[in-house]
Symmetry: C2
Subunit: 345 residues, 2 copies
């Protein structure tokens, strides 16, 4: 079992999660509805922190809730005791073992918050520290670079949002996601080709905005972990405030540019980067106008609602990062300096 | 007037701000104390977003307040209406003109939040949108890369924190900061030397943690804007969760490793990156053990309390970025593709 196997396993693990964890999610939603929650705090690191970014948009847009991403060192290193009586505090961790994430959730529970763990290890310290649990049910994840647990984390957040505020059409779209994920895997030949053509790259930026900002962040991390490419992720808005200066002719720009409310803004930036600064554009997209703009594109299956699409659009990005590692002669199963569980304090 | 002039001007503009804006800050603090605030939301882009990161730690550690960094597109692109009745919503912008930041503050004010603008333009749309104003008093900032307004933003946040929760020793340290900033400028020869030795670099990472995570973020942006180096900033904790794989022999690692609670964690990581992965370490530091660890260091004057130190430690980083631009034959006054005011929606 390697990282490619786990990427290919995502439709099956998504189906298992949606079928077997639905009633647990419903119970968590009932607890949330029963409380006066006016803030969500999410504590996470690495890949799980990108699920936290997705949570920022989901809870803000669908529930009108401000979302704070925890700064664990404020608690673990400086002894902060944030006021969280009216907060839902969510710890997200594949292993459930990073001490700083456990500490933030434990401190929040002592402080009166409603606490929830999203983890693939239901017996872990994180699961024990939190009052509520959603088990990711992704099966053992052995590759160092997380893939299927990331998709499971997003599914858990989307499912929880729908359980709190139901929407029939979106629930049906969520139920169809295992098939959509299977269709997304068909991007593999395109990903392999685009990776081969870019095997000399050592640095790039990754752009996305809104819900897909999470995808840009996670793609950037896969590029670092698997392909050892310094991939710097930005929202298209923040990118204009300075980092745009970096782009010179041939500079690789990876973009998550899928259809929806933010696409005009993202596309306008990509057009400028290509026409005025000569960027080499690789886009993950379901939109024909982006296909014609980019030098290469990785297809995302059509028909997914915008707010659920990050669950699917990460798949071509995972495949590209994996094949770029191979094209660069690297072993994607043994990223330099990494173990599967990282314990930070 | 160029960017170097504005870097050198920082002690004088800091002195002016501390002397002339103290009573305005006191009035803002009174309004905050008079309300039931249990959340701070900060909306900002680019350099100002790094002042927002500083605010995360200041309000969490000194006031026990959760801090959410706004995701403006949730409001401007997806129509979110976050619940902010019990929040202080702070917009930070040098120009006060970015429409998305103005929109977040205006929506929050309509939603019942206490709103505050930190801007260098007291007649700007942001200043008008917010109920309260702190004027940065930095004088015209003409260089595209912001320097003195960043220091003024941090001073405003630190001053506000001290006005809300006074502390005699820290107030005296704040008052001494103009002299400390002048002492920090003495790092220029070291910055020039370290830059000359690294003039071939095209990518690097920038590490910091806790309060100094803001400094790492801002140093990374200066490296991009001025020296066109892809500089990816990380907290030392997040860096262990994946990106550490990037470091190969000779890879430049810039670190903000100043004394305080998080230094043991940062130093442990730097030691590992140097000894096991061969990183080329350049440290901004006031600590002798880091000086002996790093290939090069840029000195930070001693005696500044940890939570105020980011106001000072950015100065050697600014000087390094400026001199790296010169060493690379670039014009630091005209970053490619950038104007002084960036309007994002």
């Amino acid at each position: 079992m390697g990282v490619r196997d786990e990427i290919l396993e995502q439709p099956a693990s998504a189906r298992r999660f949606l079928e077997d964890e639905a009633s647990a999610i419903e119970r968590v939603a009932e607890e949330i509805r029963a409380r006066s929650i006016d803030l969500v705090v999410v504590a996470a690191r690495g890949t799980s922190d990108h699920a936290a970014v997705y949570a920022q948009y989901v809870f803000a847009v669908r529930h009108g809730l401000p979302v704070a991403l925890a700064t664990p060192s404020a608690v673990t290193q400086y002894g902060a005791q944030p006021r969280v009586e009216r907060a839902l505090v969510v710890g997200i961790s594949q292993s459930g073992r990073s001490p700083d994430i456990v500490a933030v959730v434990a401190a929040a529970r002592r402080g009166g918050a409603l606490t929830l763990a999203l983890t693939n290890e239901p017996g872990s310290p994180l699961a024990t520290a939190a009052e509520l649990l959603i088990d990711l049910l992704a099966g053992p994840e052995r590759a160092v670079a997380a893939t299927k647990t990331y998709v499971a984390e997003l599914l858990a957040l989307a499912g929880l949002s729908l359980a709190i505020r139901p929407d029939g059409a979106d629930e049906r779209a969520l139920e169809r996601l295992p098939e959509t994920l299977a269709a997304a895997l068909e991007a593999e030949p395109a990903a392999q080709g685009a990776a081969t053509r870019r095997r000399e790259m050592t640095r790039c930026v990754v752009l996305g905005r809104g819900f897909e900002y999470a995808t840009a962040r996670e793609w950037g991390l896969k590029m670092k972990e698997l392909a050892l490419v310094l991939a710097d992720p930005y929202s298209s808005a923040d990118f204009r405030h300075g980092p745009v200066a970096l782009i010179e002719p041939g500079f690789p720009v990876l973009a998550v540019a899928t259809s929806g409310a933010v696409l005009p803004d993202v596309r306008e930036l990509l057009q400028r980067l290509r026409d005025e600064q000569g960027a080499d554009l690789l886009a993950v997209t379901d939109d024909p106008s982006v296909v014609s703009l980019a030098a290469d594109h990785l297809p995302v299956p059509p028909g997914v609602p915008e707010w659920l699409r990050p669950i699917v659009s990460i798949v071509p990005a995972q495949l590209f990062s994996y094949h770029l590692a191979l094209a660069r002669g690297l072993d994607p199963e043994s990223p330099r300096g990494l173990g599967k569980v990282t314990l930070t304090r």
